[in-house]
């Protein structure tokens, strides 16, 4: 189970942050909890250009890919802090990130009420139509007297508080799992092939069983992502140790949803050129996860040239680079240098071959810092 936990304050020192760090540790066997900060987000403002809000996009993405959300809210003036409210406004704006997300609310306050009034308001906000979350009913975690709650190692000192947290978390665990089951049942048709994995597919050049096709894609030393001709993320190969970690829940996302806003214009430009037929291939070299990663975008077409989608072909070429460095290819005949040039960038030819520029240059303009989903 993958959860994200939102620290509901921008303060440098926060008991609510401490509480989430404690929960991350205490419930580590049941869930992988990633703690997120709202202070990284700009204050919500409708006049800010949404397409430039990379942090908001990242925040949305993390929550999208989580099975559930824990929110730790302080209480400011009997409500939640503006910094947390601002984060929720971003989450409800343009996308419906919180829609049907299981949410657990916890809170620590300095006084004795333990954020009870802030939690009441937060529940009402989460149930509003633009957020529309599945808030865990009952199970209140209201921790007062913050200054006495934690010892110097961050452990909760009061056994009653520990039990309250454990009971509530167990309820949340069941709540999230029933939500996941519900989603999985809805997804069944998507994850299971429609036909038997023994069924054979006949190609002009031979035939393969469905399960062979699946495993061939998964065994390729390069990972594959495929965006279909309606610009939706349709498939990725389940290669072990992918450079771009994907999740089945992302299948069906539009190109807008699965790229950071800043990278989107470049991605769309590539796809537009593929659709028009002005390019068939774009490549990029990127440092990713400490690897030398080579990314290739190919236009996939039917035999009549009609665009079927874009294939992203990504792999760590560190080993190849080392082979070249070690001289493993030295002394090989450099097969007809003129011809090889043509082979390598066949896409540089066109109706007016002399004018068409190197089709690969566009790629380097791509904003690498925003490479999707990887950080």
């Amino acid at each position: 189970m993958k959860l994200v936990a939102i620290v509901g304050t921008n303060a440098d020192f926060s008991y609510n942050r401490k509480l989430l760090e404690y929960m991350k540790w205490h419930f580590r066997r049941a869930a992988e909890i990633e703690v997120l900060e709202v202070k990284q987000l700009p204050p919500f403002n409708e006049d800010l250009p949404y397409s430039e809000q990379t942090e908001v996009w990242r925040f949305n993405n993390k929550i999208n890919n989580a099975d559930g959300v824990i929110i730790a809210t302080p209480e400011y003036d009997h409500s939640i802090p503006a910094a947390l409210k601002s984060g929720l406004e971003w989450l409800s704006y343009k996308h419906k990130t919180m829609k049907e997300k299981p949410v657990m609310i916890v809170g620590v306050s300095y006084g004795t009420q333990g954020t009870s009034r802030a939690q009441q308001q937060l529940r009402q906000m989460l149930l509003s139509p633009d957020l529309n979350s599945n808030v865990l009913p009952g199970n209140e975690v209201l921790i007062g007297n913050a200054a006495k709650t934690f010892d110097k190692n961050g452990f909760v000192t009061d056994i009653k508080v520990v039990h309250n947290l454990e009971d509530s978390f167990a309820a949340f665990n069941r709540f999230v799992k029933s939500n996941m089951r519900y989603l999985e049942e809805g997804d069944d048709n998507m994850t299971e092939p429609h036909i038997s994995s023994e069924a054979k597919v006949q190609f002009r050049t031979g035939s393969l069983k469905v399960k062979e096709i699946q495993q061939i894609f998964n065994t390729l030393p390069f990972e594959i992502d495929f965006i279909d001709d309606t610009d939706h993320f349709a498939y990725y190969s389940d290669k072990p140790n992918r450079e771009h970690v994907r999740h089945p829940s992302e299948i069906g996302e539009s190109v807008e949803e699965c790229h950071p806003p800043k990278a989107l214009p470049a991605v769309k430009a590539i796809m537009d050129s593929f659709k028009l037929g002005t390019k068939d291939h774009v490549e990029r070299c990127l440092p990713l996860n400490g690897h030398k990663v080579w990314i290739n975008y190919y236009a996939v077409r039917d035999e009549n040239g009609r665009y079927l989608g874009t294939m992203e072909f990504t792999g760590n070429v560190g080993h190849l680079v080392n082979l070249v460095k070690d001289g493993k290819f030295d002394g090989f005949p450099d097969a007809t240098s003129g011809a090889s040039k043509h082979d390598d960038d066949s896409e540089a030819t066109g109706p007016v071959a002399s004018e068409s520029a190197d089709a690969t240059t566009g790629a380097s303009e791509h904003d690498e810092e925003n490479e999707d989903k990887t950080e």
């Binding site: 303060a11 400011y76 503006a82 409210k85 406004e89 509003s128």
Partner: protein, 189 residues
């Protein structure tokens, strides 16, 4: 009466601003000054970067104007059935080191593009203004919310529906009476 009005929206085009501007122009017998919150920094205990004992200038200036005023009006939008963060942030500043709203008579009005017209955010705002750190005197009853705000104003910024104008006048008169009583009680003037 000297009144400080606060636009609870940080948007360039705000119906709550329009509503307060209408009130300013309509109630000419009183002096209504409109305050914008768009440039206020987000409330942070450690503003700016760990410094402990100083508020942003915009906050202290607003606080001074509020102290000098007889009453306050807040134009409150509704975001997610509650108060927008931009407005909540200003209230946090005004309840942290300084407390200029303490004992101050406040009238809440609100506009929304939906029919319910900020009714739920006004309820939250009342709870917030009632909390001990703020301790304002919120005008009870008389909830003025303007629903379907997109079609509520004409080109000159006048409220089209005369029934709405009449109700607003009635609320405002009641508020001034309330504010005078509160200020008398608190020994103001």
């Amino acid at each position: 009466m000297k009144i400080e009005a606060i636009v609870g929206s940080n948007k360039r085009l705000s119906y709550n601003r329009k509503l307060l501007q209408f009130m300013k122009n309509h109630f000419t017998g009183d002096e209504i000054h409109i305050n914008e919150i768009k440039d206020f920094p987000m409330f942070n205990e450690n503003y700016p970067d760990g410094e402990k004992d100083h508020d942003p200038e915009l906050v202290t200036e607003l606080a001074e104007r509020i102290e000098a005023a007889d009453a306050v009006i807040i134009g409150c939008p509704e975001y997610n059935h509650s108060v927008p963060s931009a407005l909540k942030s200003v209230i946090e500043w005004l309840s942290y080191r300084i407390h200029p709203l303490h004992g101050k008579p406040i009238m809440i009005v609100g506009a929304s593009i939906h029919p319910q017209g900020s009714s739920r955010s006004q309820t939250h705002l009342r709870e917030i203004l009632d909390s001990p750190g703020v301790f304002a005197e919120v005008f009870p009853g008389n909830e003025f919310f303007l629903g379907t705000a997109k079609t509520a104003f004409d080109e000159d910024g006048e409220l089209i529906n005369q029934g709405t104008v009449g109700f607003l006048e009635q609320c405002f008169e009641g508020f001034k009476k309330f504010a005078t009583e509160i200020d008398d009680f608190n020994g103001v003037k």
